[in-house]
Subunit: 498 residues, 4 copies
């Protein structure tokens, strides 16, 4: 899900982990969830979204169908803050529900962009929630507007809805399939109609989607951790290019696209998915530890302590420590009370910067040669400050190791990456980056290293097992909108604050 050039004029409250000094983090934009034929469907959906909250903390929404009406609630803020009170949950009546947790770009957005989106169709309604990004959304949007469609949001996800509404197919599943066949990009979709819960994954399976079972009720979720949360059993992954339809007749599978090998986004392993999730049969936590071990093999350093940059660097740091025998220590303490902290920092607070979220544990660091381990390096601004903080705390040497290769390209499949010119690795070579960061040494895992961590011998360059475009520039689909170079004009017509 992506905002199409919309530049809202007010900011919505951002939540804890979004806070970063200068956008020096990657953000997955969404998590989706759906459940069919279960009592308390909305409460279960709220729990599922809570488990997926790491995929998007800005806003959340739930749609239900109670046999007569659809109910839709969309709110800014955390799921738990908005979908727990009795009155909200009572309004979300029904035994089928879908939900969406969303991260959004720069500074906020209007409520009408929050998902699920809803459309009244001839013969019923449909609610849709989307994780990912369509690479031809702008192009299709312009064409639909020419044909008289009115868009209610500036979200690229609405294009699917409009295509469904416009489809000449007679039944809802065919209309849904008709719509996604016109879309390019990476996506996991869940949709709710009066009689069905639908799930779909893009032809390459770039974004994840799993099927679970809760006492006979089918469940769809971005990650297995959402199944664990509600006590549902994992059944299987939705395959790349597959559409599943849950109804009174059980779960049916459709394959509207030509078969091809899956190419999951490798970043799901590196950063986005929760460590306790299992993705394509592999434990995310174990993959990350393996990356740490691989990192150690590729970048052995003579040091006193291994210090993870919390929390994302912890599993790789453990792997590094296990591989090398160097003690793993909490040399950086993370402050979990950042909240929406310091939204308008004074100059002084800005200068103290990184300490709002991380502080040095001097007892661990002082006089030591330390290896900092993190998952990835984006702009480098935070890393630079953390390295400096370690030196101020008395570290005698500071080495920075990353459990992913240098990020040299932007993403167009649902990850909010900086413009390419702001990616540190797109600006500098290794020594330039090291100098910018101020570390004694800087190291990255190799491209093949991450494939090895996943159990392969290395990257199969003829048919890569994953999509790794941020490291390689090897985009797995056409980038229609980018090529049309018209992104910026689209949908910027209206500026509205809710």
């Amino acid at each position: 899900m992506m905002d199409l050039g919309h530049t809202p004029t007010t900011s919505q409250p951002s939540t804890s982990d979004e806070w970063d000094l200068d956008g020096d983090t990657l953000h997955e934009e969404c998590g989706v969830f759906g459940i069919y034929n279960a009592p308390d469907a909305s409460a279960l959906t709220a729990l599922g979204l809570h488990a997926l909250q790491h995929r998007g903390q800005e806003a959340a929404g739930i749609a239900t169908y109670d046999g007569k009406h659809f109910h839709l609630e969309r709110r800014f803020g955390l799921v738990g803050d908005n979908f727990s009170d009795a009155s909200t949950m009572e309004r979300l009546a029904g035994t089928a529900a879908i939900g969406h947790a969303r991260y959004s770009t720069a500074g906020g957005a209007a409520l009408r962009n929050v998902q699920p989106l809803f459309a009244e169709l001839d013969g019923g309604g449909i609610a849709v929630a989307h994780n990912g990004q369509f690479t031809n959304a702008m192009t299709l949007r312009r064409s639909l507007i020419k044909r008289g469609s009115i868009f209610q949001s500036t979200s690229d996800s609405e294009v699917v809805l409009q295509l469904i509404a416009k489809s000449r197919e007679s039944n809802i599943v065919d209309r849904f399939i008709d719509a996604i066949r016109q879309m390019e990009g990476g996506y996991a979709l869940v949709a709710l109609t009066r009689k069905k819960l639908i799930g779909a994954r893009d032809p390459l399976g770039i974004r994840p989607l799993v099927l679970g079972d809760l006492d006979g009720s089918p469940v769809l979720a971005s990650e297995t951790c959402a199944l664990d949360m509600i006590g549902a059993k994992f059944v299987r992954e939705i395959e790349n290019g597959e559409v599943v339809v849950c109804s009174e007749d059980g779960v049916k599978s459709y394959r509207p696209f030509p078969r091809q090998p899956a190419r999951l986004d490798i970043f799901e392993y590196i950063y986005f998915s929760r460590p306790d999730s299992v993705l394509a049969g592999r434990s995310v936590y174990e993959i990350r530890k393996a990356m740490g071990r691989e990192l150690a093999k590729e970048n052995p350093i003579d040091a006193d302590v291994i210090v993870p940059i919390p929390d994302s660097g912890v599993p790789a740091a453990l792997g590094y420590a296990h591989e090398t025998g160097i003690p793993f220590e909490l040399g950086i303490i993370r402050n979990h009370y950042v909240g929406r902290t310091f939204i308008e920092p004074t100059q002084q607070i800005r200068a103290l910067g990184v300490r709002l979220k991380h502080s040095a544990n001097r007892a661990v660091v002082q006089g030591k040669r330390i290896v900092l381990v993190d998952d990835s390096l984006v702009r480098g601004t935070t890393s630079s400050k953390i390295v400096n903080m370690m030196r101020e705390a008395g570290a005698s040497e500071v080495h920075l190791l990353l459990a992913s290769p240098p990020i040299t390209h932007s993403d167009y499949y649902g990850i909010d990456t900086p413009e390419r010119e702001n990616l540190l690795a797109a600006q500098y070579d290794l020594e330039g980056m090291r100098n910018y960061i101020g570390a004694d040494s800087l190291g990255f895992i190799s491209i093949d290293g991450i494939y090895r961590s996943c159990g392969y011998e290395g990257r199969n360059n003829d048919a890569p097992q994953f999509t790794d475009h941020c490291f390689t520039g090897d985009y797995p689909t056409a980038l229609v909108d980018v090529d049309a170079a018209e992104n910026h004009r689209a949908a910027a017509l209206l500026v509205e604050t809710d």
Copy 2:
């Protein structure tokens, strides 16, 4: 503007004058305003809407165009509470603006129903605000949905927007005209495009719309009082069936409908328009006083004091007092601090009922024969309580006179009337009504009397000068949706709380 069977599950705050004990009041549903080519267009629009606030207090919205973007702000509550702070007004940049003040039915509605509504069209955007009601909206809506349109609101006004978006005409004015030609009903519309401000009045001119001029900038408003507020000069009324287009080329007039005599809604004189407005060349205040005089001629009563039911009954009561020489006295004091008062009244408060808003001025009433004068009688519940309150305050006789005929039929052109079975005059004859109210006598002005008050000899039954359907059942247009008897199903699919 009418809600299409939408039954929202939460209530928005209602504002002062909406508060009534049991819906015993008529409500106009909207006021519209537009200005073109004026600095501070949004501030002027806010002022204009403030002057039209009596036409709708539930919500308000303003749309502007700044040469590059449209800006839209819609809020629940009074104009002055929402459109006065610097940051909101700065966001509403531009020299052209339209605005809308809205009353809404039963208990509230979602923000997406608040106007202006906006659509991005091929080659530009359009914002539309609507006072009135379309009598074939549901029928058209169903047809549009069949053809793939997605509605963002449950408001009947959106049908116009969808028809504009779907029109095959090439320029925006032709598309607008193409759309309204398909609509039936009573309406005043203002619309804002990138280069034009458009105004339109229904073929019969049921709802009012005037053209003004502020230092060369054209202004559109539901009533002249909005022109007075901003210091604009009155130019002329928009004629029935006329479309005016304000652009850099000045104000152009279009006549897309066959010419026919106008039939303004007589209720604009009786109740809705502000007393200081001038409508069809007549002062509303003077008409109301004339109705009071006519009432006195038709219903002479031997009494000690004339007591208006404030505030709506004041001009007629003055007319009655002037005609008869009986003293006009404030026998009922109105509490203007009702606010959103007592939204959840306790049983005890409910029992004390009417006193929250009105209290007896015993010094005026005690031992006196009083004539209460009000503008109209709807359900009769409030009148009954006021009569009783007068008796408790010691009145020896209580007579109730109404400056309008008995209301026997519902409205379908933008007035929120109770179902017909709840209209007192549809249930009882005169004596039955008097008995229900508990007054010593009850009198109404005659149908011809109101026409005489407006300067005619009486009603021209062959070609009535106004529409007076609530008194006569003589509906001036087809009631397509009512006849299709399908109102209730439509648009009830989605229940969403903002």
Copy 3:
């Protein structure tokens, strides 16, 4: 009740009638209410305060005792907005309650200044609400602080509470009397203890307080209109200098001060009390009409219409019209939807100024010689704008008559008057004022005229029947704090926003 030099740094929302262009209105600062031994005591108190809302709209509070605990709720805003929901009213459990409606000076204040105030005493608690002002509060406050008292508010009312807490008397009534004996000024007080409801009026009876009866339950209220609201019978006024104590033993009267003739503040008749209230046996409405008649005798004008400045000028205008036979007409329409309107007016709105609240009814005014009637003239800024608005609407002559004498002195008994140098009548002679206002003529009722309107032959200068210090400078009590010229330093130590 007066704020002691406290200059808060944020503003609370002001409510409708407080809105005035440049503070050109007088404000009574409070209304009080109490009820003993009645089911739903808090709901009845909310209703009573609603009826007293004209005496203060900024904030309100209610304290109850339920046999075990005191409950206290204090809120900014209208009574009806804050004391009607079920949960608030349930928290305010008990059969005895007191309440307070408050207007406050310049821009707002902290919640801790909102009344009732509460203190835990040895052997019980006490809640106190106060209308009026103590003229020696600062002096006593300084002395109490020296002795170790900690003040929780900057309200002068808290001095009473501190004196009660410090009193060496053994029972609560004696402690209360001990406290008020030390206070100077004008006040009506209600207090609630575990077993008693106490009411007290200052030795001269400057501020009003009445005793009512609701089915055997004693009621105290600032005005009779609050008794009418809840259906209670008027029993009698609390006399000047009287303390009444309502308990299981009935209502007992105490006379702790030397007897002296009462001197009610004449402004209660002129402006503050509600027209349907009866004060010292006289109908406020009838007194105001009598003032209008007296004004006509003293200032006969050859004019076409009498136009009240709404709403405060209406009764006097009716009196003037009745006396002279010149028609009474609504030449100015008041906009009741001002709300908290236009808190931050833009320059343009500021220029249009007075029209936000008042607009000219051109049909009445054009080409006419009009007499504007208002209750009083304070700074003159609003009057000047209204006169100008009348001229713009086409009036051929505009005369302004005031139903009170020129205000030349500030008040120190609970009315929020401008500093003396800002009172128009303290700056100019009659011709100077007329010139400032821009009227063709300007007239005031005479001092003796207002006494005649109240049924006297004139002012008894040896023993004036009322206090009329704002017109005469004849302050009826010592002005201890003013004489000590130390007002400004006191209590300005702390600035806190709630």
Copy 4:
């Protein structure tokens, strides 16, 4: 700081980490901070409080003095959410400031209980913030009320303020000392007067307080991590029984109490202080690791993985892992987005319970013999659920080890412990506890073990180096209020919601 029997009727939002299923956590109630003679004193105080946020997340307040006025802002919620916007910080003008972060008991409290508290004294004002609890507060409060003091809060901290106000000493430092000499208990106090910043620590030094220096400006803080946050140097700890006064004359030390050995609360090492703080010369992180090693020596277990209960159990688990060589693994993932989550959980959410905050990392746990390490065991409810969650995730053995001895006694010095009958270790013997928890084995560190972890040979029973009353019942001061057994009556007179 302790609430005195106050049972408020509404709940304030609780923040993230407070959320626990059934109060199964210990809560420190406060952190304090002060700075003198520094530009941006309030911004630095906000940063300092942010670093101390782990000591209390319910509410925070800052008081400043700008040379003329004191400014006070108190808010519910996180420091970063409330003390970062420009307007708030501008209001908090001045170069001297104190601040307070607060946790509060069961369900919320009124804003007037939030600190700092303020009193206007003869000759100036004083603001006070307090961490800890006075064991004779109720007794003193009753005595003060008898003498005429009015309490503005129900907080025991206000007693200090009232004693200062009442003191007959002539200067403010002597009055402060006079006051604390009358108090019993554990406390760290900071106070701000017009010319001084005062800090004080109870005679035994039960609660911590340190002195720092920021470019010549003295700083006081509960922990060294707050000094690190603002870049201040650690100078020294305030000694037990010491009062320090920072003024233009520098930092002066007073010793108003007889000298005695310090007895820091051992819980500061075990749980409360932040791992990167240094307390009494010892790194909290290193002490906790040492406790883990000691735990391993006392409770060696043959297991496959060491799993910390995050986040509090991490350092001890690392120590255990280092000592034993068993791998440290993240077998439990903590959800940091709990927010104010699920304030009104549905029954279903309640059943899923512990997963909202913690989830099992099956890949680590399945088929393994695991040792769970946590810092302490209170009620046992959460531990029981976590043990069960580990079994459901496939653990073959689950052992629970605690890095503190069994908690058998309540605290009265500022820690919010359950009533004694709800402490698991007060109800059961070791086997009973193990059975309740459902673990295969349960182990605690010994009393001597924790002393050894701190560098001693063991507990000196004649003169214990710490206070460890929760484990031993050896309370270091008189428990005046407890002995008077009158806790419950006090201050419960008033129930007020802000």
